[in-house]
């Protein structure tokens, strides 16, 4: 077989194996609780297909492991096995071992530190003994957060499956654009025979088609957000075993379509919120009962479209955030002064500060106060916001609001010297003129605006721009969400424009303050500013509100 063919075959095999393993994992978790005969049937089919594919693709170890899983599953479904939780653990570990053998990481999960040979031995032994005789191995650290990924782990392949009908529509549209372009070219060649209005109309027609194309291309990148929720059934099951808490997962809006990058980047923050909800939110069954709550806690993950944005909510019916404890902690760590207090919404935002954790004891599950700040950073990277609602004793809801697409933004252009910079319009709140006494060369300064002192950053100094200084300077007030405001001093306000963000070349990707580049209507290149990181360079921590 030709090496290229072999390569595409391997690609298909890995993609299919990945899906099969996700399906297996989901079915294994359902086996105990479901009466639907399709669940075990589907599971056996997946196992069978995977076994055959492993054989065909030359993975004898994996195929033997799948075979052992099949045998054990047969006994499990026939109810000839005892100690079901331990058997389920073993089956799930087999899925991990297969992922490792085949090099297909699970959705958002880190390959477990597992020896496939040991797992296989345990499968055979369990089948022979008719149940798990030894205690199940202690679950290692519950995995699934990228900050724990060892740096050498290879980046997962970025692929996207696209329906043929969508590609066909794209092709159709390209054809229509070609026709329209041809027509315009002909008209321009004989421009003297056409009125300017006619030419403009022909151009507009092409423009409309082009916008349709843009729209379709963006839609092609859309995938159901449910993919990001896939690992949580497993996560909750493992957390349940580790903590003795009982948690039911309710998911809705899995079909809401989002840009594929959103699914990639939202997984980690969601994983953390889910783990946090179980660890700190939901109470143990006995505590819940004593408080008159149902034994089993509920964790809801909901996704929906809302006014041009995607809203994802993670809510639990646990204890809620403890205002008093957060306040004490904030004072103790110096985030707030000894007698300072804040309104609820502001106070609760403090939990996103680096190193902030109120858990009395550091647990294996939620780590050591790293985490919530990572959630914040990830959501910022998606140009999204996060807010918290909590009612003591009743539960907490985290609401993530994300932009629909990541590559096209409504931009606001500003000029500094000869350069143009683009700010995402959603981060721009207002523009004011810099008072004459503030004009000058300092890299930062303070502006008094309606009785508040607002720090600002002079982009000219910050990016060491050249070119003549302008007579006047303006300040663009930027911010993130409701709270944090700061100013950016610029030479000129150039107005609003839809902008396609292009990623920066690798060499420049880690430059602070820049999110990407864009090509302007004039054909010039502009840099797109990363407002969050600029804010960070101005404000000591994201939680310090400029009061």
């Amino acid at each position: 077989m030709h090496p290229d063919d072999m390569e595409s075959l391997r690609g298909i095999f890995r993609a299919e194996a990945r899906e099969l393993l996700i399906g297996m994992e989901r079915a294994i978790l359902l086996l105990e609780s479901t009466a639907d005969p399709e669940v075990p049937k589907g599971l056996f089919r997946a196992v069978h297909t995977l076994k055959g594919n492993c054989l065909m693709m030359g993975f004898p170890d994996a195929s033997e492991l799948v075979h052992a899983v099949e045998d054990l599953l047969q006994m499990y479904v026939a109810r000839t096995l005892s100690a079901s939780a331990a058997v389920v653990t073993l089956l799930l570990q087999s899925v991990d071992a297969l992922r490792m053998l085949l090099g297909v990481p699970g959705e958002g999960r880190v390959a477990a530190d597992i020896d496939p040979a040991v797992i296989q031995g345990r499968l055979l032994q369990t089948a022979r003994a008719g149940g798990v005789t030894e205690a199940p191995p202690v679950l290692g650290k519950v995995r699934g957060f990228s900050s724990e990924v060892p740096p050498e782990s290879p980046a997962p392949e970025r692929t996207l499956r696209v329906g043929l009908d969508r590609l066909d529509r794209l092709l159709d549209l390209t054809g229509e654009i070609a026709i329209s372009r041809g027509r315009l070219t002909t008209m321009l060649e004989q421009a003297d025979r056409h009125a300017p209005a006619e030419l403009l109309e022909a151009h507009r027609e092409m423009d409309r088609l082009y916008l349709d194309l843009q729209d379709l291309v963006l839609k092609t990148r859309l995938v159901p957000i449910g993919r990001a929720f896939q690992p949580f059934a497993r996560t909750l099951w493992e957390l349940g075993l580790a903590t003795g808490k009982q948690v039911r997962l309710e998911v809705s809006g899995e079909d809401v379509e989002v840009d594929t990058t959103v699914v990639e980047l939202i997984r980690d923050p969601l994983t953390h919120l889910v783990r946090n909800a179980v660890d700190h939110g939901i109470e143990s069954p006995s505590v819940r009962q004593a408080r008159g709550k149902p034994h089993t806690g509920t964790l809801r993950i909901q996704a929906r479209h809302e006014a041009g944005a995607i809203v994802v909510q993670v809510s639990d019916d646990g204890v809620g955030l403890n205002r008093e404890r957060i306040l004490q902690k904030a004072r103790a760590t110096g985030l707030l002064g000894p007698n300072e207090d804040r309104e609820d919404s502001e106070l609760f935002q403090l939990i996103f500060a680096p190193g902030f954790s109120t858990a009395e004891r550091v647990t294996e599950l939620s780590g050591r106060g790293i985490g919530m700040d990572v959630v914040w950073r990830n959501i910022e990277m998606l140009r999204g916001t996060i807010s918290i609602e909590t009612r003591e004793g009743l539960g907490t809801t985290f609401t993530l609001r994300l932009p629909l697409t990541l590559s096209i933004i409504e931009g606001f252009c500003v000029g500094v010297g000869e350069d143009t910079y683009v700010l995402p319009l959603e981060n721009v709140f207002e523009c004011v003129e810099l008072p004459p006494e503030e004009r000058g060369s300092g890299a930062t300064g303070l502006l008094h605006l309606r009785g508040r002192a607002l720090p600002y950053l002079r982009l000219r100094e910050h990016f060491a721009c050249e070119g003549p200084r302008s007579e006047r300077e303006s300040v663009v007030i930027v911010g993130h969400g409701q709270e944090y405001r700061a100013g950016l001093a610029v030479d000129a306000l150039l107005g609003q424009a839809q902008t396609v963000i292009k990623p920066l070349n690798k060499v420049f990707q880690h430059l602070p303050g820049l999110a990407g580049s864009a090509i302007l209507g004039t054909g010039r290149v502009a840099l797109v500013l990363d407002v969050s990181s600029l804010l960070r360079s101005l404000l000591p921590s994201p939680i310090i509100r400029v009061a």
Binding site: M1, D5, S8, L9, I12, F13, A15, E16, A17, G42, R45, H48, T49, K51, G52, N53, L55, M56, M57, G58
Partner: protein, 124 residues
């Protein structure tokens, strides 16, 4: 080319379908594919392939069932059907022949084996 023999490949696994295509590329066959038993029956009745290479374990209608249905239709009563199984367990072989299949290949098969089985029915 009207003289080209048509082969219908049936498997719910895209990996297997692609592998079969790759193993048969360069052979003088026109290759059709279906990803379920139901689709296979529809395609076989509509396209009248000269041979069917069919997976056994599929969701919905499995390979045995599809085989039985095709055997009961005049148009496909004698079309050679080669079943593809993971392990030619005795049970599979028996059920397969009961359902009317013509032959078997067992995974993992290689190109030579597959081509030989096909040529056996279609000649060259």
């Amino acid at each position: 080319m009207s003289t080209q023999k048509k082969i219908l490949l049936v498997d719910d696994s895209p990996t297997v379908l692609l592998m079969e295509r790759l193993l048969l590329q360069g052979e003088p066959y026109a290759l059709l594919s279906a990803s379920s038993g139901m689709e296979a029956v529809r395609a076989a009745l509509a396209q009248q392939p000269d041979l069917i290479l069919m997976d056994v374990v599929m969701p919905g209608m499995d390979g045995f069932e599809a085989c039985r249905i095709l055997r009961s239709d005049e148009a496909t009563r004698t079309t050679p059907i080669i079943l593809v199984t993971t392990k030619a367990s005795l049970e599979h072989v028996e059920r397969g022949y009961e359902s009317g299949c013509s032959d078997y290949v067992t995974k993992p098969f290689n190109g030579n084996e597959l081509r030989a089985k096909i040529e056996n029915f279609l000649g060259r």
